[in-house]
């Protein structure tokens, strides 16, 4: 069963009179429980693809279905709802909320979902323990290393049991050891919890970890390979 269906997706960025064709008609199906990397050089369109799948940006043409929802017809509020309940995000720059502690950052999405405080606290504690951050619950992001911050970001992304986690260059700011640890953790979550992970990356290690590798070049899918 496919959790993401993209048909002939196009995206053009306009900078004054200049038009940049970021996506030129991408069609892609991603199966539920997949562990997939969108790879390609800078400017190839992989992050744009990730943003459109995540409902962070609109496509100019084509259709996109996520978890059965036709998101190209949704307004901002409907997209916010979809992201809140179905999609987790991990960003290159971690993007934690600096004034909240580790625990509060993880609880934040559940707060938006209206989960009761006791349940929020219990789930956040459990997921932080799972990602190896037990005992660091009350530290602010500035008091954590890059690797630890990205683990918090992963914990935040999966704590609300989303169908998909979209990770944009998650290892770009990490050393190779931290990056590998993070990827192993995400793969374990993919295998144990069945969460679909979609990465955009040009990091060889991420491509090696992915079970399916989609090469994007000049706004088109150049290669789509499922590894043995």
């Amino acid at each position: 069963m496919n959790i993401v269906e993209c048909r002939d997706v196009q995206k053009i960025y306009r900078q004054g009179k200049v038009e940049v064709h970021a996506l030129r008609g991408v069609s892609l199906s991603i199966e539920k429980g997949g562990f997939l990397a969108l790879a390609g050089p800078s400017g190839s369109g992989k992050t744009t693809m990730l943003n459109i799948i995540g409902g962070l940006d609109y496509a100019d043409a084509g259709s996109i279905s996520v978890n059965g929802n036709q998101i190209d017809r949704m307004n901002q509020t409907e997209l916010a709802n979809l992201r809140l309940h179905n999609i987790g995000f991990v960003f290159q720059a971690y993007n934690l909320i600096p004034v909240l502690s580790t625990m509060e950052n993880v609880e934040f999405v559940m707060l938006l979902q209206g989960v009761l405080p006791a349940e929020r606290r219990a789930r956040a504690t459990s997921i932080l323990d799972d990602v190896g951050l037990a005992g660091l619950y009350h530290r602010r992001p500035a008091e954590l290393s890059g690797g630890q911050q990205q683990r918090v970001a992963v914990a935040r992304a999966i704590v609300s049991n989303p169908s998909i986690v979209l990770a944009d260059e998650p290892t770009a700011n990490l050393d190779s050891k931290s990056g590998e640890g993070l990827l192993e953790m995400m793969r374990e979550m993919n295998e144990t919890k069945g969460v679909t992970f979609i990465f955009s990356t040009h990091d060889r290690m991420v491509m090696d970890f992915a079970r399916r590798l989609v090469q994007v070049r000049d706004g088109l899918v150049a290669e789509d390979r499922v590894k043995e």
């Binding site: 940006d57 901002q76 916010a80 309940h85 993007n95 909240l100 609880e107 934040f108 707060l111």
Partner: protein, 407 residues
């Protein structure tokens, strides 16, 4: 956690928060303190007006107010006083007076005054004069030649206690009546103009000098509470013949004071608005800066699933905290300033001659009215939230991708 988030966010840049909070504090303080000064001026004007022979209600022969000549005196004071005794409550006080324009002169000077013939005992209970005598003695009932003058008149006429002062006025027969009085007492009043204008003799002396018989010019009534004046005046109008007599409240008797009071009421709110406009620009600017600094974060909130309206709420909550803190401190300082000046007031002697024209005192004592404090805080809170809506909506309008692309 929303509240925690907002609270922590306002302290991310403590210097900026303190600067804008200081602006709110000064604004609220200025609204409350200067509002209290204006209320103090108003209260003093009313108090002076009422105490300076006006009282809460006055009764005159119809026509006296337009043409205060001796012919327009009350010819049957006993009838009116009997009605007052019957219809006024036991804690209401009244006194009848003779009041005419006169010329005062001595060997050195001549000047116009208002001659007031009073019942010394009754008058002591309703107007300022008995407590205002600072030198010599207050009038005693039946005194035919004693006169009390103001300190300013005494100085102007270069005379002193015990000396003679001659009063001249037109009597009932339209002849010039005059009588020499001996200065038995000197009074001080809140306003120098009062000291120069009024001279007091006994009612009997005035009636005899002006050949008025038992006629009087007016009856002044003092109630337990000035707010009852209108109701009591309406009751009196029911029983006192309207074709012969006019019953008026202090509000009608002091048109200049009432006009100034009405103007002050509006002026206070205009003042609040002016202060707020100055403060409002600071608030918008600060919140806008805070929003633009954190635009990536708002993009993150949106990416995580926060709806645009929730972002507006988040920014407004931060504004609410800033404004509330400023309001609490500003109101506290405002109340403290008023408390500090409660006994001494602010002495405006240097300006008093000009101020007396509108009935203001030499010393202003600030008066706090809870309604004004609430209004000042409400203006800041409501308008503060309204102006904060602009940066809040701006924060919510960025799409997640736009916002997160910002550095």
């Amino acid at each position: 956690m929303y509240l925690q988030l907002a609270w922590r966010n306002i302290w991310r840049n403590p210097r900026r928060t303190i600067v804008i909070m200081t602006a709110v504090v000064i604004g609220v303080w200025a609204m409350i303190f200067l509002g209290a000064l204006m209320r103090g001026v108003s209260a003093q004007m009313v108090k002076n007006g009422i105490a300076t022979l006006t009282g809460h209600i006055q009764i005159h022969q119809r026509g006296f107010r337009n043409d205060p000549v001796i012919e327009n005196s009350i010819h049957e004071p006993e009838m009116v006083e009997a009605l007052l005794a019957q219809y006024l409550s036991s804690n209401a006080l009244w006194s009848s007076r003779v009041r005419v324009d006169a010329i005062a002169n001595n060997a050195r000077h001549t000047g116009g005054v208002t001659l007031v013939g009073i019942d010394p005992e009754r008058e002591a209970a309703i107007s300022f004069i008995a407590q205002a005598v600072v030198e010599g003695d207050y009038l005693i009932p039946g005194d035919q030649y004693g006169i009390i003058v103001g300190q300013a008149l005494l100085d102007k006429f270069e005379t002193k206690l015990g000396r003679k002062l001659v009063l001249m006025s037109q009597d009932r027969d339209r002849d010039i009546a005059s009588r020499a009085f001996r200065i038995g007492g000197v009074f001080r009043a809140e306003m120098e103009a009062t000291e120069k204008q009024f001279v007091f003799i006994t009612k009997e002396a005035a009636q005899e000098m002006l050949k008025m018989g038992s006629d009087i010019s007016e009856i002044s009534i003092l109630l337990a509470d000035y707010k009852d004046a209108e109701g009591v005046a309406d009751d009196l109008k029911e029983v006192i013949p309207a074709d012969s007599y006019e019953v008026e409240t202090w509000w009608e008797l002091l048109p200049l004071v009432t006009a100034v009071l009405t103007m002050y009421d509006w002026f206070i709110y205009i003042w609040y608005l002016v202060i707020f406009i100055a403060m409002g620009f600071g608030i918008v600017n600060t919140i806008l800066m805070a929003v633009f600094e954190r635009i990536r974060e708002f993009g993150l909130f949106r990416a995580l699933g926060m709806k645009p309206l929730w972002i507006v709420r988040e920014v407004l909550t931060e504004s609410f905290f800033l404004l509330t803190l400023g309001m609490i401190i500003g109101s506290g300082l405002g109340l403290l300033s008023v408390y500090a000046l409660a006994d001494t007031g602010i002495d405006l002697s240097a300006l008093s001659e000009g101020l007396e024209f509108v009935g203001m005192s030499r010393v202003i004592y600030p008066v706090i009215i809870i309604k004004d404090v609430v209004a000042a805080n409400l203006v800041v809170l409501v308008l503060g939230i309204v102006v904060s809506a602009y940066p809040a909506i701006k924060a919510a309008r960025f799409t997640p991708v736009e916002a997160m692309a910002r550095t």
